[in-house]
């Protein structure tokens, strides 16, 4: 029937929109602009949380502050104590830099850390009134479905948009900006430095010949993958491995669906499954796929089950993700 | 045997009876006309013979109540042409007429040689041989009437039920079709019951006439008995006149001084 074409087109548009908003090339986050002296930045062995929560209203606690977020200039008058986060990554960052006590509500997908105050605000279709009912003084989003930002700003709530990062520097920039916005500058800088150190150490531990390996990162059981033009692809790239999906994505859109026979033919050295939680995939399932049992990754036990969430966010747990990747390479090398 | 008996037929859809306690007989081989004003219940009465309406009372054919017959058995006994038959686009005349053989073919069977022969015979009888491959939906009114008659002829049922067989035809077309029906009737010994608007034609072609009005049978008998001015003026309108030409009642509606506004 003719009307059936319409949902088809809508479906295509939605998939395209979801994919493009989730990872194609986007603006790099500019470094935050501070209007006060940032003497605390140099102080990297930092200050424990209790010291920060005793807020004085002295002007040098960093507020008011104006930052250049990806959604424009955002001015925060005083240290926010009622933060609402509609972005799982921002939630993780907030808690990692000690701003947890300042957070009053997070969206239904923010499942880490445990102590985050989860509500049923939807990350995909956020309800303005639901957000406003928490009386927030700052809101974090990772994308803007339908002018949520404009609506919140119209009622005087400052909003920071931190979309999917493309490179590590993008992510670090967002973390530091989060620190500035919440009065946790020192903690955010420390987070960046420990993360950098961890990743560097992991890269150092890679065996020679890691660069000769190839990998396939699976987003769902119909063989959607990520290329090197995505955040997680950039992380993988630090190991020097080749991504078999790159050949399938000449336009750099980032999330191609691969033909089954191409994956088998490419015979990736390692297979990473990011669809373990959503879709129940694991090593046995992969081995049972038609024609896949002959793959070297299957015979070598190099099918790695990732945590879907960790593999899709750009927050502090990227070190966990990266450690798993490096460990799998080492295990393969020593096998 | 295809004599028909209507016994106290009443049809009520819920807002009053459309046919009310109608009873009469049709003898084997005769042509019975069912006449009456619009809405008198003629079509509904005829449809009881093909089990197309729920009714109380009994309609029997050859002594067997129609409602007790399985559809295939009934289709071999009663054939029917509705007021507005459907002529599907893209269906060949041959295939349309072949549908008349459906009651003789098992659900998974195809047509036999005998079926095909009977179809050709029907086409020839109605001078439709050259139309066999034509799309039924492209034919004229007169041609489609003949095609419908060919189908019921192929069906070889002893009772033929026609609902306004000449509705969309001009004068000569009408006459032609009625002559055809009469010829087929005598040739194959069929009993015919037909609803007719044209009272004069009913008088000329039919053996007897059943006059319905408001769902009830108000007059029944030979044309000369039913097609009279007292009867028709009461049922139809005061302007009806019946004159006799060559012994046939001719019914006309004349404009009079009183009937002009």
């Amino acid at each position: 029937m003719i009307p059936r074409i319409i949902p088809l087109i809508a479906a295509i548009a939605l998939v395209a929109a979801a994919c493009s908003s989730a990872g194609s090339a986007n603006d790099t986050v500019p470094s935050p602009t501070l209007t006060t002296t940032s003497s605390t930045v140099a102080n990297t062995t930092t200050t424990s949380a209790p010291e920060e929560t005793t807020t004085t209203t002295a002007p040098d606690d960093g507020f008011p502050v104006t930052i250049e977020a990806p959604n424009g200039q955002v001015t925060i008058q005083s240290k926010p104590e009622r933060i609402v986060s509609i972005s799982p990554t921002s939630t993780e960052v907030l808690f990692a830099i000690g701003a947890g006590p300042q957070v009053v509500a997070v969206d239904d997908q923010s499942n880490f850390p445990q102590e985050a105050p989860v509500t049923d605000i939807s990350g995909f279709t956020p309800n303005i009134e639901a957000i406003a009912s928490y009386n927030p003084d700052l809101v974090f989003l990772s994308f803007d479905p339908g002018d949520v930002i404009a609506s919140l700003e119209a009622i005087g709530i400052p909003v920071i948009l931190h979309p999917t990062a493309l490179t590590l520097d993008d992510a670090y920039g967002q973390w530091e900006q989060t620190g500035v916005a919440t009065g946790r500058i020192a903690e955010s800088v420390e987070l960046v430095e420990t993360t950098t150190a961890s990743i560097d150490a992991a890269v150092q531990s890679l065996p020679e010949g890691a660069g000769a390996l190839s990998y396939y990162h699976e987003l769902d059981p119909t063989y959607f993958s990520v290329t090197s033009a995505t955040f997680v692809g950039n992380l993988y790239a630090l190991t020097g491995m080749t991504n078999i999906a790159d050949a399938a994505d000449p336009d750099g859109y980032g999330f191609p669906q691969l033909a089954a026979e191409y994956i088998v033919d490419s015979d990736p050295s390692l297979i990473y499954l990011a669809d373990t939680k959503c879709c129940g995939q694991n090593g046995d399932e992969v081995a049972a796929r038609p024609g896949w049992n002959a793959l070297s990754a299957v015979t070598n036990g190099a099918v790695v089950e990732l945590d879907d969430d960790i593999a899709s966010r750009w927050g502090p747990r990227i070190t966990d993700f990266f450690d798993v990747v490096v460990a799998s390479i080492l295990e393969l090398a020593n096998a | 045997m295809s004599d028909v008996r209507f016994e106290s037929i009443t049809v009520d859809y819920g807002s009053g009876p459309v046919v009310s306690d109608v009873s009469f007989d049709v003898t084997d081989g005769e042509w019975m006309a069912v006449v009456g004003p619009n809405g008198a219940g003629k079509s509904t009465l005829l449809r009881t013979l093909v089990s197309a309406v729920d009714h109380s009372g009994q309609a029997t054919v050859g002594g067997v109540p129609v409602s007790t017959l399985r559809e295939r058995e009934r289709a071999r006994v009663v054939s029917y042409v509705p007021q507005r038959p459907l002529y599907p686009q893209g269906m060949a005349v041959f295939d349309f007429v072949l549908l008349g053989r459906t009651p003789y073919m098992g659900p998974l069977a195809s047509e036999s040689g005998e079926d095909v022969a009977l179809v050709w015979e029907a086409l020839v009888s109605l001078h439709l041989e050259s139309f066999a491959g034509r799309d039924v939906a492209t034919l004229s009114g007169g041609e489609t009437q003949r095609v419908s008659l060919a189908r019921v002829l192929a069906q070889r049922a002893p009772l033929l039920v026609l609902d306004e067989a000449t509705a969309s035809l001009d004068l000569s077309g009408q006459h032609e079709v009625l002559e055809l029906i009469d010829r087929l009737r005598t040739l194959h010994g069929m009993t015919v019951i037909s609803a007719i608007h044209d009272l004069t034609a009913a008088g000329q072609f039919c053996d007897r006439v059943a006059l319905l009005a408001g769902g009830s049978l108000v007059q029944f008998g030979h044309p000369a008995e039913v097609l009279t001015e007292p009867v028709l003026q009461k049922i139809f309108e005061p302007a009806i006149r019946v004159i006799e030409i060559d012994g046939n009642p001719v019914v006309v509606s004349l404009r009079t001084e009183e009937s002009t506004p």
Binding site: D220, D265, P290, G291 | A52, G90, S140
Partner: protein, 350 residues
């Protein structure tokens, strides 16, 4: 008084033969082409090697053999099956409902399958937890449930169980089930990608197990639909006249719908909702040959397979090694193709 062109009444043997030849050629083409370049000679040798008694070396690696026999071959076979079924079901639905816009999803089979799918994806157990994969099972049951619901609704209508009543009931049911599916999708927003991927249809994960799974349903249903083709022609004159010819339109409709839905549910379970095929193929056959179901049904079965094999070839090679969802291909390439047939065909549509 129009001089119409003669209408075809017979299923000419050369039509059937021609369609079979085209089908075989398209299968061969489908097996030869793929994202991975396998040499045609090697493929032929590999096929010959399977013949008992012959021992031919194809020159392929074990991996290439796996690609050919475990991935590409079942995928092409499944494309033939899915295309045949959707076309046969579409023709059958068009026949019993006397509606040229009818497709296999008319009575809510598609919407029901979609709802089943989202329920399985959002709330179902992991694929590994059960013996059978819950997603195809849920889609299958959902498709059948949707049609059953439409029938129950249609049968409760006082004014009669006509084909129009059923269609309207199907529209109501399909709309409701689609709304339910959308609602759940929005609430469980992390399932969006997986659900839309499934809805647009894909043969990318096809293997012999999927073929074996659907085959029994397909064979039985196609036999029933083929057997009913003469009765579909009888239904063309409308329910009233058809019953005066000695058939029971309501019962024919029920039987045909049951088997057409069974087959549709089975293929939807393994391939998702592939649209357009069920309407386009029967109409193309009508435009090129005849409106009689004795011709439309068998030719739709054969050419439906051809159409989907070609669509699948395009889906997996146009942007190789990336895949295009096959539902996009059938609409994108099917529509202009059908426009050409519409303009140049000599037959009629309904």
């Amino acid at each position: 008084m129009s001089a119409g062109r003669p209408v075809e009444t017979r299923l000419h043997w050369w039509w059937v033969g021609g369609a079979v030849v085209v089908l075989i050629l398209s299968v061969i083409l489908g097996v030869m082409i793929g994202a991975v370049g396998l040499s045609p000679i090697g493929i032929i040798r590999s096929v010959l090697d399977k013949v008992p008694g012959l021992d031919v070396d194809s020159g392929f690696t074990q991996r290439d053999e796996a690609i050919l026999w475990q991935i590409r071959m079942p995928r092409v076979i499944l494309a033939v099956i899915v295309g045949s079924v959707l076309s046969a079901a579409g023709a059958a639905y068009q026949g019993v409902f006397r509606n040229p816009l009818a497709d296999p999803y008319l009575l809510g089979a598609g919407a029901g399958a979609g709802l089943g799918a989202i329920l399985a994806i959002a709330y179902g157990p992991d694929a590994t937890a059960w013996i059978v994969d819950p997603l195809p099972l849920a889609a299958f049951l959902g498709a059948i449930g949707g049609v059953a619901l439409a029938y129950v609704l249609g049968y409760t209508v006082r004014s009669g169980r006509t084909s129009v009543t059923l269609i309207l009931a199907g529209v109501a049911v399909a709309s409701f089930l689609t709304a339910a599916q959308t609602f759940i999708q929005q609430r469980e927003s992390d399932t969006l990608r997986e659900v839309y991927g499934w809805i647009l249809g894909s043969l990318n994960t096809a293997g012999w197990s999927e073929v074996k799974l659907v085959l029994p349903y397909i064979v039985v249903s196609l036999l029933v639909i083929m057997g009913s083709r003469r009765l579909l022609d009888v239904l063309a004159v409308g329910d009233t006249e058809a019953s005066t010819l000695g058939v029971r339109p309501g019962r024919i409709r029920l039987v045909v719908v049951v088997f057409a839905t069974l087959a549709t549910a089975a293929v939807v379970a393994v391939s998702g909702l592939i649209g357009f095929v069920g309407i386009i193929v029967p109409h193309t056959v009508r435009l090129l040959t005849s409106a009689s179901y004795r011709i439309v049904v068998p030719l739709s079965i054969l050419l439906g397979g051809v159409f989907l094999v070609f669509a699948d070839v395009i889906a997996r090679t146009a942007l190789a090694p990336a895949e295009i969802p096959i539902g996009v291909v059938t609409a994108f390439f099917g529509a202009p193709f059908f426009a050409v047939v519409l303009r140049r065909g000599k037959g009629v549509v309904s």
